[in-house]
Symmetry: C2
Subunit: 221 residues, 2 copies
């Protein structure tokens, strides 16, 4: 039992987890095993412990509920309308995470009975105000493509220019000229050739590239 002389809200960290798979931007959701909103899909997340920072809480929840760690994680916005959660006053510090397509083995958490990836245009109804959170995360992701190298966080260690261009086209939902894209992306000076070539396709092999600064997201322009 914990007592205070004025009322305190509960604080959670919830995470909007994006990845790119099957040529779609996808979102990770968890089906709630308990009330409230039992059976509904929701964002992974949970209460912030007293001895951990908000960033630590977010990455711990991400690990516990999805088995994923070491990925890009950024604070998004804090949601705190009084009646968001029917149980008590809950303030949610929302994060978003970007996961490379090769790092996606999932695990169901204790307070969820299922975990799944959903395309952005096939999302189910979500619990609480999680639709607002998702919408804002999506806007932020789109905006950040324009002035940073966030998109690189979806890439595995080595990749072709075509794969990278695909990521931009999927998130922007529009096609880009191949030559202009290559000029631009190489001009950023953020990737370099590995010397290897991709193999296996029924076509000319492509040069493989790697990030010069993996993990780091650079502000450009």
């Amino acid at each position: 039992m914990y007592s205070y002389d004025h009322p305190h809200p509960a604080v959670t960290a919830d995470i909007v987890v994006f990845t790119i798979r099957d040529n779609q931007l996808k979102l990770l959701l968890i089906r709630r095993a308990y009330s409230p909103h039992k059976g509904k899909w929701a964002l992974p997340g949970g209460f912030v412990n007293m001895n951990e920072s908000l960033d630590e809480a977010a990455s711990r929840e991400l690990l516990e509920e999805t088995g994923v760690s070491g990925v890009y994680l950024e604070q998004l916005y804090t949601f705190g309308k009084p009646k968001r959660d029917p149980r008590e006053r809950v303030i949610t510090v929302a994060y978003y995470a970007l996961i490379p397509s090769d790092k996606m083995q999932l695990q169901a958490a204790t307070d969820a009975d299922a975990v799944g990836w959903f395309g952005m245009d096939e999302l189910p109804k979500l619990a609480f105000d999680h639709e607002d959170i998702v919408k804002m995360a999506h806007q932020r992701l789109v905006a950040k493509l324009d002035y940073s190298t966030v998109a690189f966080q979806f890439l595995p260690e080595s990749f072709t220019l075509h794969e990278l261009q695909n990521i931009y086209e999927i998130i922007f939902q529009e096609e880009t000229d191949k030559r202009n894209f290559r000029k631009w992306i190489l001009g950023l000076g953020q990737i370099e050739e590995t010397g290897e070539k991709s193999t296996g396709g029924a076509h000319r092999p492509a040069k493989l590239f790697k990030k010069k600064f993996p993990g780091r997201v650079t502000i450009i322009k």
Copy 2:
């Protein structure tokens, strides 16, 4: 007495209040009347009530501690390192506010014994981690000038182009070509002539302008 079966942090809303005065970007600070950090300068702010949203808490605190209302207020970031506050675990949802130069009568709050404006390059040592918060707010402000009309929020109802250019120059800390600035700012289509002229200076009177969409901050480019 309020009791919970797991520990809850306290949540505050603190506000970084900017204005432009004496050709300087200035910041509003409050001298703390109570421990901890008694006598140190700090950001205005306070605990979020259980029946108000975070935005409401921020604007209420702003009104109570400074007498200012109806100004631009935007959520900045949430700070939650475990030991930020020596009393208990405190999570702070930080906001920033922009105040036009003509709207600045101040009032001291109950938990402060003084209120004052400080130039960004003459800030005193601040309480808690408020220097981090100020730094982030300043970065955000500078960044937003590039892709939005936030700067307009510093303006009174009517203003000259020179006054507007001054705001940009003060925040960016660099000079701009007058003709290029005018072409650009008029091209945005966000301001219009009032028909009036400024008066009083020992020089040719300047056309006065007003915002087409006061209150609104538009994303540009």
